[in-house]
Symmetry: C2
Subunit: 375 residues, 2 copies
Amino acid sequence: MSPSPNRHLIGQPVAVADFATPALLVDLPVLKANVVTMAKLAARHGRALRPHAKAHKSRLIGRMQLDAGAVGICCATVREAEVMAGAGLDGILVTAPVVTPAMVARLIAAREHVARLAVVVDGEAEIDLLAERARLAKPIDVLVDVDMGQGRTGVSKAVDAVRLAAKIAATPVLRYCGVQAYYGHLQHVPALEDRRDRVAEQWRHLEGILDALGRAGLAAEIISGGGTGTHHLDLASAPFTELQPGSYLFMDAQYAAVEVAPGGSPFHRSLSVATRVVSTTQPDRVIVDAGSKALSTDAGPALIASGAPAAAVYRFMGDEHGAVVVTEGSIRPNLGDLVTLVVPHCDPTVNLYDHFHVVEDGRLVDIWPVEARGH
Amino acid sequence: MSPSPNRHLIGQPVAVADFATPALLVDLPVLKANVVTMAKLAARHGRALRPHAKAHKSRLIGRMQLDAGAVGICCATVREAEVMAGAGLDGILVTAPVVTPAMVARLIAAREHVARLAVVVDGEAEIDLLAERARLAKPIDVLVDVDMGQGRTGVSKAVDAVRLAAKIAATPVLRYCGVQAYYGHLQHVPALEDRRDRVAEQWRHLEGILDALGRAGLAAEIISGGGTGTHHLDLASAPFTELQPGSYLFMDAQYAAVEVAPGGSPFHRSLSVATRVVSTTQPDRVIVDAGSKALSTDAGPALIASGAPAAAVYRFMGDEHGAVVVTEGSIRPNLGDLVTLVVPHCDPTVNLYDHFHVVEDGRLVDIWPVEARGH
């Protein structure tokens, strides 16, 4: 990846005229606080933490999470696993099925760098593919993926979970470790009590599966699930041994719109996009250089964090532009001024960038590559 | 950027089990045909063509367009201009204002590689910034950006266009060349006749501005506008000397939903995303590995091009997953099968990838980098 055009500005305020935009910013003290907060919450509730790298795709951030006590790192793709394992980040869990010989081969190759690597399966064919390529000296840990009501990957019925677990357990080069039980679709249920009711329904379903596994002599040692939106409920009551939240590091507009926890979210927004005013010819708005190639478009508009009046709103205006709409009589930003935006949805927004611009007290202190960006 | 994991498969069918997904595919014969079709249409109507690189961000594709007779290449950002100019692609036009000293310096540096480089302005401050840094030996061409009803960048009033043109013309290191008149917001008006009425309204507005410029001794030599959606109307009747379409190379679902030309679009879909079935546990759908990090989310769902029954539909299911929903009784794709998707919107989808996988008769024939991807 090309280096950031802002690398010569390390040490300077982000607000300097030369700072190239649009740029992904991460506030370092807030990021660190979020890392520590989740680690402490997990420890207090006796849960392990295996945060999800899909949110950050960064070796450095993964390392921060491990240093704060995480038992490993979740990866959504084999590519993410290669990147993280290649840097020696151990305890990798690949949270989606791997279904071709070539992808399994890459997984096995990534396994060479670490002490433990796990992957989920939801069918016998996937187990066969792994068995053909794994080797006894470096067994692959395998979790059965359980559908927690999302209708995406995973098995729903106890009989299928037991069948898969038994097959894994009977395969010498694989190590049956338990289940993944992820409810991504429940992370943004707006009201906490509704979210509680819906996750509790899934816990009951999961407990039936765990009982069946136990009765079959295949008790789950690892039960991996949960996310940022359900963390409060998961920590208190879910039948998980470990949690796999990702977005808590950064937060975003999508999470700002839901009740994350009683009394407010314990995780604060560390992520933003810096954009600059590039045109001031319109009467009721200024135009900035962040559009749909700088902010994900799956979760509504960006919010204004700084650089414009409180009542100003952001609107997408194409791939490379947005409007900051200002009410009549309020102070308009000037041509060239910096505006910072709360991103609509952190994970796919991070995926648009090659670099995090790390900020402390308004100053650029470092630039971290988004190593596992893209495909 | 990391090389594509598919590079060892050049020469093989894309359908081989090892082909890593999700992957951006471009059908080479169709791409070439689209390049030629637009070039011929432009020539037949006596218009120059300066296609927009924002769609492809690829030096190789830009070179194809120049070789087919384009007078230059439009770029949405200074970064795109650097990448294209750095490969000697001449006749660059930067179609958005450049508003900081650092970005102007980068533009001037890119200018060193080519014979002609132009940029648009919509304010006097931008002209001053250019004037401070351009040099007589390599003047910068400047176009006045005219707002064609979009409410984004550009001036609306003739008096402002004349004022800016006069200022440019009075600056020795700059060369006043004319205007840009882009109506991006009209490209997808569904019915051709409605689109005709709306662009005609803008043409009348533009003609007033062109008259005023002429009367002021500042006649526009270059009048640059238009896009894929309005090409038919622009070629026939717009007061443009040159067109700047981008998407015609690739086409997408968004353009499939509008009436591009009488009798259908002369440009055919060359772009698709290859995705693989990664889970088959659900009764009414299979799950594929293309989600919102593989397909832009600003223009509805992807469409199914191949690999699933005609009535199957795609639905996003997160960052790394999608569902291919199959009607009861129809044949479901198998685990590991390849499905190809028509992308919702080509420009921001291309921007998610580091490589085009170039396909001919179902075979991977080359891999081209998306050099100007990202920021």
